[in-house]
């Protein structure tokens, strides 16, 4: 019994960590530009597929490229890191195509919502053409390559290492990002642009570079999440990131738009709440995140830890 409870709590915390990663990706861009990047879910998928390919997985595409794969799979940690970087680069591309033209012409933020959704549709369908609609499981022994056993026994409970890994990696990524934002020169510059672009300009900060940095980091966060989930569950198809993208959005608002601690707390809360749904009602689990969001928004319209915008009169 205790094993079951511990296992489901850990599962919850692990998926909560991933939700927090996705939500932080949104937060980075939202705090700088005040817009939501709806291509985030597609970047999540892309991270999963990159990790799979770098581990030596085969390209499917309905058998168009039989046996095409990397000559040798990379070690897991390297694959995950490179996949995150690659997703970050795709994130930069999304900025260039979907956000930069609109910023130059000074259109309403609503337009960026549509263009980023369009970028997501393009990415997911390109993925579908290249890799096919079928699902993939990560190569056997990907974890062993990382030098980790399949399961650990803690306090008499058997726990899947993957879940623990998910939690640890996402927590480390989130904490590193937070420290970097707080302490480093570039992080401070990024926050300055988020706070007040005009003043940041007078201080000699290149806001364009900061926007690109935010998109790169945000894409990398999503890609990292995709790689981790791919490892823990599998890749069910090119659309699998969209669902995580939506839940990340729920977490983002739950924690309060633009609040980093809010995104982390919201992610963990959401993951744990999902884990508490009894197994025989598991079909309803996907509605959990949105029901909580709905309830919270009605009580606290600015989210759990958000301060809420001051209204201009």
């Amino acid at each position: 019994m205790i094993e079951l409870v511990l296992q489901s709590l850990l599962n919850g915390a692990a998926s909560g960590g991933v939700y927090a990663l996705v939500a932080l990706g949104y937060t980075l861009i939202f705090s700088v530009l005040g817009v939501i990047n709806f291509a985030q879910g597609a970047l999540f998928s892309i991270g999963g597929y990159f990790t799979y390919l770098l581990l030596g997985g085969k390209i499917g595409a309905n058998g168009a490229f039989p046996g095409l794969a990397l000559p040798a799979g990379l070690p897991f940690w390297l694959a995950l890191l490179l996949a995150a970087v690659a997703s970050g680069l795709v994130g930069l591309l999304v900025e260039r195509l979907a956000f930069a033209p609109l910023r130059r012409s000074g259109s309403e933020p609503l337009q960026a919502l549509i263009t980023s959704l369009g970028a997501g549709v393009v990415l997911v369908n390109l993925l579908q053409i290249l890799m096919g609609a079928e699902g993939y499981s990560f190569p056997e022994g990907a974890l062993l390559m990382a030098g980790l056993p399949d399961a650990l026994v803690i306090a008499g409970a058997r726990i899947r290492t993957v879940q623990l890994l998910l939690l640890v990696v996402s927590v480390v990524a989130v904490v590193m990002l937070t420290i970097w934002l707080e302490r480093s020169r570039a992080g401070k510059a990024l926050r300055a642009v988020a706070e007040d672009p005009t003043t940041a300009l007078y201080l000699g900060i290149d806001s364009g570079a900061m926007v690109r940095l935010a998109f790169f980091l945000s894409g990398a966060m999503a890609g990292l999440g995709g790689g981790l989930i791919g490892l823990s569950v599998s890749l069910p198809g090119p659309y699998f990131g969209i669902g995580y993208g939506l839940k990340g959005l729920a977490v983002l608002v739950l924690g309060g738009l633009g609040s980093v601690p809010g995104a982390i707390a919201g992610g963990l809360l959401m993951g744990l709440a999902e884990a508490l749904v009894p197994p025989d009602a598991s079909g309803w689990r996907d509605a959990m995140a949105f029901t909580i969001l709905f309830a919270v928004l009605l009580v606290r319209p600015s989210g759990l830890l958000g301060s809420g915008p001051i209204e201009k009169v």
């Binding site: 939501i36 709806f38 195509l97 979907a98 033209p101 609109l102 012409s105 259109s107 609503l110 337009q111 919502l113 549509i114 263009t115 959704l117 369009g118 970028a119 997501g120 549709v121 393009v122 990415l123 369908n125 390109l126 579908q128 053409i129 969209i242 939506l246 959005l249 729920a250 983002l252 608002v253 738009l257 079909g283 309803w284 996907d286 509605a287 949105f290 029901t291 969001l293 709905f294 928004l297 009605l298 319209p301 600015s302 209204e311 009169v313």
Partner: protein, 302 residues
């Protein structure tokens, strides 16, 4: 290449475009249209297949009067839901409203997928047909589009529509002018839901089968694209956007798998190339369409 079936789908697309346009013309970015579409469609599918008083025959045909009743009931249920939900979510602004309506769409989708009487992942199938072929649906679809478009057109000169425009330009100023903004926003939201609900009821019969996937986040995306690409300043925009963007993936079918990439590119590049959408007030004036009243923007009034 455009057969009757596609024409009906295009008209349904235009109706959904208007459903997104209505709250947006009061400045409310609601993505809840698929939720109401799904609710209307599910009710219609359930009634037509289970309620014997409607007179569905064993051969699978449905009397036209029953069909009309089901369309109305689908719209009413969606409208009723909108009255409840609207009072809760319309207190939220901007992106918070958009995301909470996405949450509504997801909750409705999961509910339809998991409720014991909606057929699970397979859904409800063999829905009785009021017409013997797809072309028969052209009449009710055209009638519904005509009615909704006429309403939107009338709104542009009615006090309610003026109030909606005022809220869109500046909600605070509108409230100071004595406009009951909460009520106006709720009315726009409810009309939008009724349109989406009836459209769903029509679509369920037209498609002959209905499941939870009909009202997903994807539909939120495409229907919003109808409005943004078509133009959100007059009702002609969402109609044009709905017709064109519904036809596009079908017309692109010959190019195979690439069609959805092209569709994505259109959504990606559209707002860049046509910042105000395809149908703008400027375009209408150039065409001399004097029957479309000119909307005064805030800058002109100042």
């Amino acid at each position: 290449m455009i057969d009757n079936g596609l024409l009906v789908q295009m008209l349904l697309g235009a109706l959904l475009g208007l459903s997104v346009y209505l709250p947006l013309s009061a400045g409310q970015l609601s993505l809840a249209t698929p939720a109401f579409y799904a609710v209307g469609g599910t009710l219609a599918a359930l009634l037509s297949t289970r309620w014997s008083a409607l007179g569905a025959t064993a051969a699978g045909s449905l009397p036209p009067a029953s069909f009309l009743l089901v369309l109305i009931l689908g719209g009413l249920l969606a409208g009723g839901l909108a009255v409840v939900v609207g009072q809760l979510v319309l207190r939220l602004r901007g992106i918070y409203l958009a995301i909470s309506t996405i949450a509504l769409v997801e909750i409705v989708r999961v509910a339809i997928l998991n409720l014991p009487f909606t057929g699970g992942a397979v859904g409800i199938f063999s829905i009785p047909q009021p017409f013997s072929e797809a072309g028969g649906y052209l009449v009710p679809a055209l009638a519904m589009l005509g009615l909704t478009a006429a309403l939107c057109h009338r709104l542009e000169t009615l006090p309610l529509g003026r109030a909606m425009g005022a809220i869109r330009e500046d909600e605070l100023a509108a409230r100071c002018m004595g406009i009951d903004t909460t009520r106006v926003k709720l009315i726009a939201f409810v009309i939008s839901a009724v349109v989406a609900g009836s459209t769903g009821a029509l679509a369920a019969h037209f498609l002959n089968t209905w499941n939870a996937r009909q009202g997903s986040f994807d539909v939120s995306v495409t229907t919003l694209a109808f409005v943004i690409l078509g133009g959100s300043r007059t009702w002609l925009g969402p109609v044009a956007g709905g017709l064109l963007l519904t036809a596009l993936p079908e017309l692109l079918r010959p190019v195979g798998d690439v069609r959805l990439v092209v569709f994505g590119l259109v959504i990606l590049l559209g707002p860049v190339i046509f910042p105000g959408g395809l149908v703008t007030t400027g375009l209408l004036e150039r065409l001399g369409r004097s029957f479309v009243p000119r909307r005064h923007s805030a800058s002109e009034v100042r």
